[in-house]
Symmetry: C2
Subunit: 105 residues, 2 copies
């Protein structure tokens, strides 16, 4: 599982519309081939901070996301609502399936 955590700091006056646009994008991203999760998280301590939890089967699937019409639409739509450039980090999502335990020992 190829996981990207994207951190977004939104201008307080644009939080509601950012949330709506991002949930629209998440819904369409969920339907992409290779998408496993596309969760939208809002920080409880400060609702201007969001995390996008984007999990794909492979790096290629994650890369293809960046070419979809819904991603490009979202990217342009939210550009002026962000208080700072978004940051991201890429993770290997580790396998929990039973056969992991067999093959790992």
């Amino acid at each position: 599982m190829y996981v990207t955590l994207v951190y977004v700091q939104v201008k307080p006056e644009h939080v509601d519309e950012f949330r709506e646009a991002t949930l629209e994008n998440a819904k369409e991203s969920n339907a992409e081939p290779g998408n496993i999760r596309f969760d939208v998280l809002q920080l409880k301590q400060n609702p201007s901070y969001f995390v996008l939890y984007e999990a794909y089967e492979s790096a290629d699937d994650a890369s293809a996301h960046k070419g979809t019409p819904h991603y490009l639409h979202w990217r342009d739509k939210v550009a002026d609502w962000m208080a700072a450039p978004r940051q991201s980090a890429v993770y290997e999502g580790l396998e929990l399936a039973n056969d992991f335990w067999v093959s790992d020992k």
Copy 2:
């Protein structure tokens, strides 16, 4: 969805055993009532850094996790393997279900 992101920096010489113990804990946590996700992520740029993505239906479900035998076992087992105290942040995982769109407009 009540989500906690837990950031863990592991001593490099303990990465493999931390990973194994954490996957065991994740597997049992997945079976808890109210658990939605319990993903274990390993940073690609530096495999000593992990993120636990813990999603529960409610704050009470997340709180109950801290009382389970597998959590307590994991907490004690990994204590000396960490390079720094772990950090966490709590998020509201936003609803993607269709009825969200109806009720939000």
